[in-house]
Amino acid sequence: MSEEQRVSSIETRGVAGKKRYAMVVDTRRCIGCMACQVACKAEYDTPLGVNRTWVPYKVVGKYPTVKKQFLPRLCNHCDDPPCVRNCPVDATYKVEDGGFVLQRYERCIGCRSCMAACPYNARFMLPAHRTYSSITRVVDKCTFCFHRVTQNMVPACVQTCVGRSRVFGDINDPNSEVSYLVARNPTQVLRPEEGTKPQVYYIGADRNATEFGRDAYHKPDVMELDRSAFKRNFKI
């Protein structure tokens, strides 16, 4: 099994005695309600314009044969995370028991190397102003709800998911729900060729959503308007 082939000492998938948390996203069950995105925003006071989790969609096919394909996204808490090895000051690190990839906000210098290293756009720079939190101008990302999981709760997005599309658990435990889903279903991870060993497994993900769009460089005009409007009002 490929997951038992560990090439780096940092990897903990399949290591006896260690937890390795993972998420399974069953896209067949996702209805695109974005409740996960909202729950995450509420949990972390994530500012306007940036997201720890987001649910993009693509409309695939031509009327009347069409389908909206959702692909909930978040940090993959990679087993071999390039963001961690690229941080010059160890401000981003991997928790050995559990596999969470976390931030030391007080240490981050804001060089954005980790952002450049992440193949999944999972990281973002916190803007200068936030409503409730004083942590600003450092890089942030999904924490797999470390504070909840270590209190025996599931992440906020998993708890709120109405379709029960998101499932969370210890993939090193053969009896966990995530182990069962990954073993019994055809799954895929995003951009496996990057060697990051992502720990978010997708069931039924559509290639239109997981690949680079062939027309990616023809950005829709409406997006450019949004992007420039956003940048005007988003001071970092």
Binding site: P56, P88, R107, R112, M125, V138, A216, P220
Partner: protein
């Protein structure tokens, strides 16, 4: 349409390209100052190049720190308890500091008028540390395995060639009417710019024949505004044109050399910008 594509920002902005440009010239000038110990024709440039290189190091340092979102924490990169040696940036910061110290020692020796083997040794160490600057900046891009163009082993080599080219270009402007220095600088500028061209062709070739992400990055870099900057200004006006000019008889004259130097400077700035920004575009839409 109707797709909802969340957009992401690029990680490194244009200010980082300005840093690349400044630090490239800084290291190129350090090579020239060191070169004057081996090639007597460059002797008149020794002090000028060393001082200019040091001034640019200061400018580069300020740019680098200002680019951080937490500039006051820049000393964290020198804290041995924090340093992470798998990051090229950690090596880079040590390299910059070591180069700064070596440059100060070198300038002090030059000020004393020492032409001793000891000063030559300091010049050698300074030049070696100067070599580390483009190597680490290139390597800083190379390590990002998911980014086409960046993730090529020749990136540090390209940055070294760019540093020599832009350093020699500034040297050519500074050398003015000095015939002997001009002859040497002509050779430096010609060969380093030609090397930049050869490396770019090989990078573009492998990118165009690469996978989906590579092909799309190739398209981004060769069309539209980015195409104008990369191909138009960087490759044609800033690499091919100066090489042609330097090969022609006019390139051996002062005016020809100066014009080539200006073209190389503009071109190398455009190349650094496009090489930094272009490969980041595609992923903002992933």
């Amino acid at each position: 349409m109707g797709d909802y594509v969340w957009f992401h920002d690029v990680s490194w902005h244009a200010s980082y390209a300005i840093y690349f440009f400044v630090i490239g010239i800084c290291s190129g000038l350090a090579f020239l100052s060191y070169g004057s110990w081996i090639t007597p024709a460059l002797r008149p440039l020794r002090e000028k190049a060393a001082y200019l290189s040091f001034a640019l190091l200061a400018v580069g340092g300020v740019l680098l720190i200002a680019d951080l979102s937490q500039p006051m924490r820049f000393l964290n990169v020198l804290n041995p308890a924090y340093l992470n040696f798998t990051s090229p940036l950690a090596w880079g910061s040590l390299n910059i500091v070591a180069f700064g110290i070596a440059s100060v020692l070198y300038l002090m020796a030059l000020k004393k008028g020492d032409e001793t083997p000891r000063t030559k040794l300091i010049a050698t160490v300074t030049a070696l540390l100067a070599l580390g600057l483009p190597v680490y900046t290139g390597y800083d891009l190379t390590v990002h395995q998911s980014r086409p163009i960046w993730n090529t082993p020749v990136m540090p080599v390209l940055f070294v060639a760019l540093a020599i080219a832009s350093g020699s270009a500034v040297g050519s402007l500074v050398a003015g009417g000095n015939e002997a220095a001009r002859k040497v600088l002509h050779q430096y500028l010609l060969w380093s710019t030609a090397a930049v061209g050869v490396i770019l062709v090989s990078i573009l070739g492998t990118t165009n024949y690469g996978g989906a992400a590579s092909e799309l990055t190739f398209v981004i870099l060769t069309t539209g505004t980015m195409g104008l900057i990369f191909v138009g200004i960087g490759i044609l006006a800033g690499t091919a044109a100066p090489v042609a000019l330097l090969l022609a008889p006019v390139g051996h004259k002062q005016s020809g050399l100066m014009l080539s130097a200006l073209l190389v400077l503009v071109g190398s700035a455009a190349l650094r910008y496009a090489l930094l920004m272009g490969p980041q575009q595609l992923q903002t839409l992933y």
